[in-house]
Amino acid sequence: MKTWVRHLAWWLALMLVAGGAWAQGANLDIDSPAITAIRNAQAARHAQLKPYYDSGAIGLTRDGMIAVRDVSLVPLAQRANLTAWVAEENRDRAALYREIARANGHPEWEADIRATFASRWIAKAPAGWYVQNAAGEWVRK
């Protein structure tokens, strides 16, 4: 084998190893203006939603969204507001997953990002909140 071919083979091996390490250690960009705007809106909305998570009226779905779980826990006068907040939150969540995939140059990652978020929202949810298991049933953490 010619020397330069061997050298090229070494470089190739090195690139594969270094590239793999880079792919695992690198950060995703989550600071684009669109993503920042969504994060701020979600943080502000959380103050409204928190009591309903705590009471079990709403919960975290297995697909990275939120849903009204038991409307009977919500006083009649608050139901319209809650429904609107849940819809807004889900719109922001869908946009968040889409924008993260886009900001990182891989729109096709959207489903993977959504799945990652779905499991992390559920893992980080405080005890007492309702989350959906893999079968879609509500369970209390």
């Binding site: 084998m1 010619k2 071919v5 090229l8 083979a9 190739l12 690139m15 594969l16 590239g19 793999g20 880079w22 792919a23 695992q24 250690g25 690198a26 950060n27 995703l28 989550i30 994060r39 979600q42 943080a43 959380h46 968040l96 993260i100 891989h106 990652w109 993977d112 990002i113 990652t116 978020f117 992390r120 929202w121 980080k124």
Partner: protein, 52 residues
């Protein structure tokens, strides 16, 4: 000539491969950061607390 062609093809393929893998660990880190912020799970740093 054949060798170099094959190697070049491998080289290009490896570049593409590295780039299309979904970076699961990085995604998890990003998700945790955003969730902590949205749910205010992390305590506010002391210097920020003073400013408020």
């Amino acid at each position: 000539m054949r060798w170099s062609l094959a190697l070049t093809a491998c080289l290009l393929a490896s570049c593409v491969t590295i780039n299309i893998y979904f970076p699961a660990a990085a995604a998890e880190k990003a998700a945790d950061k955003i969730i902590d912020e949205v749910w205010q799970l992390k305590p506010v740093p002391p210097d920020k607390e003073k400013a408020q």
